[in-house]
Amino acid sequence: MTALWYATRGTGVVALLLLTATVALGIAATARFATPRWPRLMTAGLHRHLSLLVVAFVAVHVATAVLDPFAPIGWAAAVVPFGASYRPLWLGLGAVAFDLLIAVVVTSLLRARLGYRTWRAVHWLAYASWPVALWHGLGTGTDSRLTPMIGLDAACAAAVACAAAWRISLLPGVRRRVAAGLACLTIALATVTFMAAGPLQPGWARRAGTPVRLLTPNAAGRAAGPRVIGPLAGLTAAGQAAAGPAAAGRARS
């Protein structure tokens, strides 16, 4: 079942990359970006295709996370925020981002019936789903401290920051530009501060809300004894060898 966890990680990272591209394309579409070789029709088409691809990857990400027996994540926790026993806040942010994406996709499919104003109001939520998804990845991600992951997250943030800055520069009125710029700057500073004080510090797994039995498998085996049954039995002292060292690595970070 370790493969499921690797699939969760891989699809999660790729979903964030695709979501970043979708947001950048969406910003380009609202700014009516077009060149002779890149018409607006192409921006809109790619934006639509990529957003559906994001939903597909997030669906696989959620399904593999739920089916993986290591972390106690139920199907309900995937859509109902902050109800999980495993890192509830950070997993809840993922559920919020997933719900926002579903709302955006459903309203886009029903756009003709809903009307443009309603669709546009809901579509603004897509902008909110990106930082929420980023924080979910930083807070829940087992390997957020790895340099390549930090690089990927920084690249995503830089891409969205550049697109947002370009879009803000096109806004009419200095006040609106300053307000939007300050909002983006606040989000960026909050993210950097959170990373420095949270996932990059030792002991983040415990502070993030990982169940104690997953942090110290041997202690759990002794404490829970024969009551540890089912999938979690592999995390007891006797089952650790069968569960493999990868499971130990998952429990630690």
Partner: protein, 113 residues
């Protein structure tokens, strides 16, 4: 000046075909990247080093898992720990004293008159 209808349709179809092609490429790259990142993460985790796995395999008691769980992601650190564990495994000495006799007599399950 607007394009003639035929040209506009041809141009639109061309753009849509390019969009579909780009979408297919992005999908393929995304799936490959997903598999690649999953594999990379698998090797970045502690315990995924071949030497570490070889050291873990013959441990029938499974007592090293929890200790390994407390270690960091530094592969070198883990490798040295695994080597140390490996050496310890091959340099076992016989116990200094024989096992102490059991204080309770063996249980009799049959016999007697």
């Amino acid at each position: 000046m607007p394009l003639p209808a035929g040209d506009a349709i041809r141009r639109r179809d061309h753009v849509l075909a390019r969009t579909r092609l780009a979408s297919r490429w992005i999908t393929a790259v995304a799936i490959a990247a997903s598999v690649g990142i999953g594999g990379a993460v698998a090797h970045a985790l502690p315990g995924r080093h071949p030497a570490a796995q070889a050291a873990t395999a013959p441990d029938p008691a499974g007592s090293s898992g929890g200790q390994r769980a407390g270690q960091g992601t530094d592969r070198r650190r883990h490798h040295s720990a695994a080597s140390h564990h490996h050496k310890r495994h091959h340099h076992l000495r016989p116990p200094a004293q024989p096992p102490s006799p059991s204080p309770s007599p063996p249980a009799v399950v049959s016999g007697g008159s």
